[in-house]
């Protein structure tokens, strides 16, 4: 879709962050514990995939 994302920059930005830090960066209102745990405990997810899941949640639409 004619977009370029600097994932290296993104990776550097977020590599030392905990999962809770990531939630705080992207979501001002956190989803239910069940949803949080489903992402947090999925060991197959890379950091990039984890971030994508977070910003695809309905809560990302809240300011």
């Amino acid at each position: 879709m004619d977009t370029e994302v600097n994932w290296t920059k993104m990776s550097d930005e977020h590599k030392n962050l905990t999962f809770d830090n990531l939630l705080d960066v992207f979501l001002l209102k956190h989803p239910s514990k069940k949803i949080i745990d489903s992402i947090k405990n999925d060991s197959t997810l890379s950091t990039k995939e984890m971030i994508l899941k977070i910003v695809s949640l309905p809560e990302y639409n809240l300011s």
């Binding site: 879709m1 004619d2 977009t3 370029e4 994302v5 600097n6 920059k9 993104m10 930005e13 977020h14 962050l17 830090n21 705080d24 960066v25 992207f26 979501l27 001002l28 209102k29 994508l52 910003v55 695809s56 949640l57 309905p58 809560e59 990302y60 639409n61 809240l62 300011s63």
Partner: protein, 401 residues
């Protein structure tokens, strides 16, 4: 030890900007909240106008008839320039450090909603919103009322002594100052007479007062009698505390919470009134209050499509190789800059969310961030919006509609 909690910074930049990265927030957390708020204002203090569209870019219709463009080509040119104007603001939103200026310009863009098929005049109205973003609301109201875009949109060029047109007089009270229910039909009729002769010179893109069309008779409005002109009416509207309440409530809903705390809004409205409608002072007072950071005010408002798109793009440093994608995204999400649905603007909040837009919002991150394709449902909007003609462009770029 940090001086400002990170969650306060995330909240502040979500409301007064378009989000912030973790490293930026971490750096700022060493400063006090006052320092952070001040720096937001300092970076936004000087208005940066939009300048892409020039007065002569759009020939006047009478010029076209004398050998210029035919009607169809003129319409194409207007659409192309409208898209250019839209994208010029998008680029500014994405790149500027003056995030608060852009945020407040967006507020006035919606408050003084206007849509005419002249991108130069639309740009100049936007530049008024920028110039007075944090200044006197009274001065801005005068400038907006004299802007050719608003005069043409609300038909005030047809407001003449013999045939008064009440459109502008009605909207200036209902939507720009007092709010519905705070004036009478008689007030509108008499105010319309006061605004007779307020017209514009389209060739110069300037306000023009046509004295011969002005009604110099005695008017009676708001229980006063006199030979009032347009600025007299504006001064009466400004001197009415209801205007301070109306604007403050709207600003509160925009920056704080869609659910209004009446007592708090009344106090803020008094402050706004006492400070001669200084909008910057009002915003500073709001974001410097401890209640602004209360849990009930965080994560409670729905991002507008522009907030959503700009925030996502900035947070991920997205580079758009074809900015026309933005036109289609705005259209699909229900908010095209410079093309509000009507004079009342975008209703905002939950109105931005329906089944299709919510699904789209949840899909968009993975599409934008993975350079994927997306099928956007066609939305039935006004046929003259700037997104309509752009479908083929997006098809060409693998972005189907």
């Amino acid at each position: 030890m940090s001086n400002t909690p990170l969650n306060h910074i995330f909240h502040l930049f979500s409301r007064l900007g378009f989000g912030i990265t973790y490293s930026e927030a971490k750096l700022l957390s060493q400063k006090s909240l006052n320092e952070i708020v001040s720096s937001l204002f300092v970076t936004s203090i000087s208005a940066q106008p939009l300048t892409n569209i020039k007065l002569n870019d759009i020939p006047l219709a009478k010029d076209n008839m004398s050998g210029g463009l035919n009607k169809k080509d003129l319409q194409k040119l207007i659409t192309a320039k409208s898209i250019e104007l839209n994208i010029s603001w998008i680029k500014k939103l994405l790149s500027t450090e003056s995030v608060l200026l852009e945020k407040q310009t967006l507020f006035w863009h919606n408050h003084f909603a206007c849509r005419i098929r002249n991108p130069y005049l639309m740009q100049e109205l936007n530049n008024i919103h920028r110039k007075f973003a944090f200044g006197s609301f009274r001065d801005m109201l005068v400038e907006v009322s004299k802007s050719p875009a608003m005069i043409l949109y609300l038909n005030n060029q047809q407001n003449k002594k013999e045939h008064p047109n009440e459109n502008f007089a009605r909207e200036v009270m209902e939507l720009f100052t007092l709010g519905r229910g705070n004036y009478t039909e008689q007030d509108i009729k008499e105010a319309a007479r006061a605004f007779t002769g307020w017209s514009c010179d389209k060739a110069q893109g300037k306000f023009e007062f046509k004295a011969k069309q002005h009604d110099n008779g005695t008017k009676q409005l708001f229980n006063r009698n006199g030979n009032f002109g347009g600025e007299d009416v504006i001064n009466m509207l400004i001197s009415n505390k209801q205007t301070a309440y109306f604007i403050t409530k709207k600003i509160y809903k925009y920056y704080v919470n869609e659910t209004v705390n009446e007592e708090r809004v009344k106090q803020l409205a008094d402050y706004y009134y006492q400070n001669q409608y200084n909008t910057g002072a009002l915003i500073k007072k709001i974001v410097s209050s401890s209640w602004f950071y209360d849990a009930e005010n965080c994560g409670c408002n729905i991002k507008s499509p522009i907030d959503y798109l700009i925030g996502l793009s900035k947070q991920f440093s997205v580079n758009y190789t074809n900015y026309k994608v933005f036109i289609q995204l705005q259209r699909a999400l229900g908010m095209i800059l410079f093309s509000p649905p009507n004079v009342a603007g975008w209703p905002g909040g939950k109105a931005f969310i329906d089944n299709s837009t919510l699904l789209l919002r949840m899909k968009l991150p993975s599409v934008i961030l993975n350079n994927g394709e997306l099928e956007v449902p066609e939305r039935i909007d006004d046929p003259d919006d700037v997104g309509k003609d752009d479908i083929s462009i997006n098809k060409k770029n693998g972005y189907r509609s």
